[in-house]
Amino acid sequence: MSMNAKELIARRVANEVRPDSLVNLGIGLPTLVVSYIPRGAPVLFVTENGLIGVGPRPPHGMENPDLIDAGGGFIMAIPGAASLDSTATFGLIRGGHVDLTVLGGLQVDARGRLANWMIPGRLVPGMGGAMDLVTGAKRVIVAMIHTAKGTPKIVEECALPLTSVRPVSLVVTEMAVIEPTAEGLVLRERAPGVSVADVVGATAAKLIIPPTVPEFALS
């Protein structure tokens, strides 16, 4: 189930990637998004360790030891790529020059605030670039499985430490597309075969339900 769920999320998020934008993809599920962006679409990917113009993985034996992504995997640089040091890279991120970041999530609360960097006492990996990305990117999309083994991850108030107090732009799960607004979380779309009641039942925060909630359009 989880592979299909992740693929569904990645395909829906890919629809949010606009032409001519500078995009950052987090490690894990968000990385799958790249597979569903139409080939030849003019999108530039930026990685936190200092490259605009991230290309595909190199063929075996053609890795450049000085060229990796933020997950440590070897990458290629597309023609027209630019390399940057960490101050410039995070200047881009904090300064609002990155159009979209797609990140994983542990919890999102009713105000649209994301927690995705630690579980006290259990998992303390450090925030890396996540706090800067959520605070500074023009749009922030959370791509995550709707529940943690049945326990809702969309909650009234995050119990886990926040990544930023700035609300995210959109939450995409295998069940729904939810948009944080000033009034609260709005249920914009539901996944094929999923009812509004299913989404409400798997969500621990109040959802605003518009008169019609269409099914996802997938790329």
Binding site: T47, G128, D132
Partner: protein, 217 residues
């Protein structure tokens, strides 16, 4: 002019308890021979400022394995279970800093600034114990500058003035760290004659560099 030195001579300058900045991102752009030198010399009690601690047995991870580090300032330790184990066991003191804030705190240290104002971390546990300041109705977190006794830098090319170039994602924290330490030691892939690096290609000017690591025999 700088002369290239043997790693043992360079490591001998770094005393136990020193504050070090070490460049690199998951080992790419880290000065691996200097790191090995610190381990071999049995250094103890270092404060380390670095983006991450790579993996056990690799790059900066070797310093963690060998218990060289007493205090760590980093943005990410998720790739190194040994770092997390030492932290949980109370053997290693760790300050986690958002990656962009880490870069800017080092920049402030090197550029003569009294601190950084950033929105990153406002209202989160990163804010704990730090002042905030309101400017034109917006809240900013005040983050202090970082400086070090030594910066260990990895570069693509060095000339004998100490001018440096970097390559691709091996730049990361190296150029900014070269600004923020009292003594800067460089491990370059290649040392070239003065004049070989055109002025426009110099990313770290040689006046910042104190020592070059010699090439293996």
């Amino acid at each position: 002019m700088k002369t290239a030195r043997h790693p043992d001579d360079l490591v001998a300058m770094i005393p136990d308890g020193a504050v070090l900045m070490i460049g690199g991102f998951l080992g790419v752009g880290s000065p691996h021979r200097l790191i090995q030198g610190l381990v071999s010399a049995g250094r103890k009690g270092l404060t380390l400022i670095a983006n991450d601690t790579h993996h056990p047995g690799l790059g900066i991870g070797k310093l963690i394995d060998a218990r060289v580090v007493k205090r760590l300032i980093a943005s990410h330790i998720g790739t190194n279970p040994e770092t997390q184990r030492q932290m949980t066991a109370g053997e290693l003191e760790i300050e986690l800093v958002p990656q962009g804030t880490l870069a800017e705190r080092i920049r402030a240290g090197g550029y003569g600034l009294g601190g950084v104002l950033t929105k990153t971390g406002v209202g989160t546990i990163v804010e704990k114990g730090k002042p905030t300041i309101e400017i034109d109705g917006e809240t900013w977190l005040v983050e202090k500058p970082l400086r070090a006794d030594f910066a260990l830098i990895s570069a693509r090319q060095a000339d004998y003035f100490g001018n440096l170039t970097y390559e691709l994602t091996a730049q990361n924290f190296n150029p900014v760290m070269a600004m923020a330490a009292a003594t800067v030691i460089v491990e370059a892939d290649e040392i070239v004659a003065v004049g070989m690096i055109p002025p426009d290609s110099v990313r770290t000017p040689g006046i910042l560099v104190d020592y070059l690591l010699e090439h293996p025999a």
